[in-house]
């Protein structure tokens, strides 16, 4: 009898989603889907609000990466107030924003690796669910847990120093920033008591990479063969091809590494990217218009950024990047679990960049805001922790927002996550008579690799209820399993 398996909610991801898997009489997977069951509506209810409110209002989409939304919106409004398309700010304005962004990237990646993903690695995909969570990690590996907490705290303190608050600050304003870094803040980040200083953060970032590489060595089969599928990759890169998480041009490569989006100005993103709506999910499906809805999908996020950029402009991370690239002989890396590796290289890169910025005198003096000739429309893109984030606004002659279009990072990864679910379901469940908790977690592990922020607002962590319902082809429940 055909079966339908529902995993709801998916745990240890940001936000709420569910997975459905259909299995036929022979035990073959006939369909699998990741459904996003929340509706946000920000694009509609910002309409009519004054444009300068957008960076503070839309960041409420998310409690984990509000800085990304805050900055993407501010960048779009920079265009509107005539402050250039991402590179026209004063040195202080741009550098303070960059510091805020790197602090955000650092804390968000740390949160994901240590709190959400590490339980799967430390206890195994099919480990005891009672242990396979952050509390289990804290009990069995206390040093690692403390490291995760303190690293996240450091990133949050950087955000507070630049945005005014750790979560939902107001630092970025159209055309610049509203504060300088103080001497006291600078000193505390550079020379704070152990471990709260930037040198320790760099050292711990290297330790985390060493840990993951060691794990990879011992679990090659799992890391290299779990949810692997070819795809295109998209991200911002600096004009010279370097990784740039704050600003750049849009580049996409195909599965073989050939450029298919040639470093274009993101103000014209609508010429290259479309969005499809499907009736089973509130999350849209972006695609490169040149290749159509079926073939134009792509991946974003840390793995994609490693694949699209030519180099990383900080020495320690560049060394790690070279090792990462060498692993696939310079070819694009399509292994979903290598997202974790890429994410840790980015943690190191952000730590290095934060150290450089903290030593930069421009953060403590200089003009904060610049403005020019106002226009009615602007696009702001940023490389958020989970991938390329698009904000697009238009205003009327009374300074009210008339249109907002957001393509959130996780939205870009919609099809890839569905692909990952499908690959994992087939790999773990095909022909199985009994569906175990470990098999269900494998599906979640595949989703987790992408660090999705499903609602970009709510948070799910640890032992949330997971329910699997087996239904027959007439949708009658024949079995139910809860944990």
């Amino acid at each position: 009898m055909p079966k339908k398996i529902t995993i709801e909610p998916v745990t240890r991801v940001e936000g709420h989603g569910k997975v459905t898997i259909h299995i036929d009489d022979e035990g073959n997977i006939t369909q699998s889907r990741l459904h996003i069951v929340e509706f946000r509506g920000f694009e509609r209810f910002v309409q009519g609000r004054p444009y300068w409110e957008a960076p503070v209002l839309v960041q409420r989409l998310c409690g984990i990466c509000p800085v990304s939304h805050h900055l993407a919106a501010a960048k779009a409004l920079d265009v509107i107030v005539g402050a250039g398309t991402g590179d026209g700010l004063t040195p202080t304005g741009e550098k303070m924003r960059r510091l805020m962004h790197y602090g955000q990237m650092f804390q968000s990646h740390v949160l994901h690796f240590f709190h959400l993903a590490s339980p799967d690695l430390l206890f195994g995909v099919d480990g005891d669910p009672a242990l396979r969570n952050i509390i289990g990690v804290a009990k069995k590996f206390p040093d690692l847990a403390v490291q995760g907490v303190m690293m996240r705290k450091f990133g949050q303190e950087i955000i507070k120093a630049t945005a005014g608050k750790k979560i939902h600050g107001t630092g970025a304003i159209p055309g610049g920033i509203n504060k300088h870094l103080t001497q006291e803040e600078k000193d505390s980040f550079l020379n704070g008591p152990d471990p709260m200083n930037i040198d320790k953060m760099i050292s711990w970032s290297q330790d985390a990479l060493a840990f993951l590489k060691g794990y990879h060595k011992d679990n090659k089969d799992f890391i290299d063969n779990f949810a692997v599928f070819p795809s295109s990759h998209l991200s911002l890169v600096r004009k010279d091809g370097a990784m740039d998480l704050y600003h750049g041009v849009l580049r996409a490569i195909d599965k073989d590494g050939k450029k298919i989006l040639h470093d274009v100005d993101y103000q014209d993103y609508l010429d290259y990217i479309g969005e499809e709506v499907k009736n089973w999910s509130y999350m849209k499906f972006p695609y490169l218009t040149e290749f159509g809805k079926e073939d134009g999908w792509y991946r974003v996020g840390p793995l994609a950024r490693m694949n699209t950029c030519d180099f990383i402009p900080s020495p320690l991370a560049q060394k790690e990047f070279e090792e990462f690239k060498a692993y696939t002989h310079g070819k694009p890396n399509h292994m979903s679990m290598h997202y974790h590796w890429a994410r840790l290289i980015e943690i190191l890169h952000c730590a290095e960049l934060m150290k450089d910025l903290l030593n930069d005198p421009d953060l403590m003096t200089g003009e904060l805001v610049t403005k020019g000739t106002k226009c009615s429309e602007g696009v702001g893109l940023i490389e958020a922790p989970r991938g390329t984030l698009f904000h697009h606004y238009a205003i009327n002659e009374n300074d009210q927002l008339t249109m907002a279009n957001l393509i959130v990072s996780t939205t870009n990864n919609n099809i890839p996550m569905n692909m990952a679910v499908n690959y994992t379901a087939k790999q773990y469940m095909t022909g199985q008579k009994k569906i175990t908790e470990g098999m269900m977690n494998a599906v979640e592990v595949a989703i987790r690799a992408y660090d999705p922020c499903l609602s970009c607002a709510t948070h799910a962590m640890g032992q949330m209820p997971l329910e699997v319902v087996l239904v027959d082809s007439k949708n009658s429940i024949i079995d139910r399993m809860k944990r």
């Binding site: 009519g48 004054p50 300068w52 409110e53 960076p55 503070v56 209002l57 409420r60 107030v81 945005a163 005014g164 608050k165 939902h168 600050g169 107001t170 630092g171 304003i173 159209p174 509203n178 504060k179 009374n398 300074d399 009210q400």
Partner: protein
Amino acid sequence: MSEKIKFTIDGKECFAEKGANLIEAAKENGVYIPTLCHLEGVKPAGSCRICNVKINGRPMTACTTTLIEGMNIENNVEDIQELRKIIIETLFVSGNHYCPACEKSGNCELQALGYRFKMLVPRFPFEFEEKEVDAEAPKIYIDRNRCILCKRCVRSLKTEDGKSIFAVQGRGYKAMINIDHELAMNMTDEEATHAMDTCPVGSILKKERGYYDPIGSRKYDKKPIGSEIEQIVTN
């Protein structure tokens, strides 16, 4: 030398000039009586009712009271404080006050009073009434979602020849603040800033200047509303 009178607030012996306004005399004596509508130097309106005190046992608004010798005033007493808290809460639920994204947050007197009165959860149902914004004036933006109808703007913001830039339109629950667009056309940057600062909430905003005060240096980030008055040492 003007004549001094004696009065008490919560048993504390206070002094003021004869004919003084209670809310201002209290301030000079280091006693904070909360208000949202009163402005020094502007004719009192008694519209917000938050400055309610008991005078010789009767509830009255402090901002409209002229002191006389021997008045016994109860200010920091349980029933009056509860009454004030109720008024603050009703103001919150009858408007659409979304502090998290409001640019007046940290500088807002209503929000500051919410904190002072420890308004933790709304006990009255939200009305979520649809309110219009008026963004047509070149320098200022009127957001009626946040307006508490204190009429500070109506009473104090006038042109050089005494014309009111703002007025109340409608009555009762349909009342709303309106702006004279012709007069607003000629507002200077300074006048726009003054208008925004006069508004106790985030209803009148100067265009294109939002969030310029970083968190931590806003008016009520470090000290609660009223504390500057309560720190005044009196004999």
